[in-house]
Amino acid sequence: MSGASGRGQGPDGIRVRIRLFASYAEAAGRDAIEVVLPAGAVAADALAVVRSQPWAGRLAPSPAVAVNQRYAKADVVLRDGDEVAVIPPVAGG
């Protein structure tokens, strides 16, 4: 995976790592999905990839999404090398 200096996109699009946690990771049997999305893709597009998975029935109706470790709205534009996370309903504190 390219480092911070690798921002931009190749001819094939942008590389994004989608991280899964807790009950979602358990349902998926994995804790990350590496995807290539078209340039200009937004957080909602990464979420759509997750929704296409066979275990997606476990997802909350509107799961929270984080991009590079900050909560993000669905229309946040993604960049090459971004880390997206689908956040199950939280239960800390």
Partner: protein
């Protein structure tokens, strides 16, 4: 360093140490919140809670929450530790110490910190039952 990171730890929380960390000559009141693993009537067979976290983001988000408290109540001194991993019944899962010149600010900051931690921190819990089975606890939606 006994803490895994700034705000998370996988070891029992030293409450006295957190209180000492926020002590200062200017402090008139210190409020300590201790969140403990409990067993409700409905969950009679729970022995422990396993906390898991998106650690890099939990660290960042807890840092943001603490910064917001400091901005809202200037002069408040804050220490916060949240456990990850297995926490047995009765043990502390989160401890927040808030010290301020006057108790009103310490109480207000303490309340803010626990409410925001519960609302935003990417941390999850799984009940571990006496049978050895695990059961995810339904969380709160939202987050950011």
């Amino acid at each position: 360093m006994w803490a895994m990171s700034g705000w998370l730890t996988d070891r029992p929380i030293d409450v006295a140490r957190l209180v000492a960390d926020v002590a200062s000559a200017g402090s008139g009141g210190t409020v300590v919140f201790v969140g403990t693993v409990r067993r409700s009537e409905a969950d009679g067979d729970v022995e422990a809670i396993e906390y898991s976290a998106y650690e890099e983001m939990a660290d960042a988000e807890l840092g943001r929450i603490v910064d917001e408290a400091r901005a809202q109540w200037p002069g408040v001194r804050i220490a916060l530790q949240h456990r990850t991993g297995r926490v047995p019944l009765g043990e502390a899962s989160v401890v927040i110490a808030a010290a301020a010149p006057h108790r009103a600010e310490a109480y207000a900051a303490s309340r803010f910190l626990i409410e925001e931690t519960k609302r935003r921190a990417p941390i999850w819990k799984k009940e571990r039952l006496a049978t050895g089975a695990g059961r995810w606890v339904e969380g709160r939606p939202g987050g950011g």
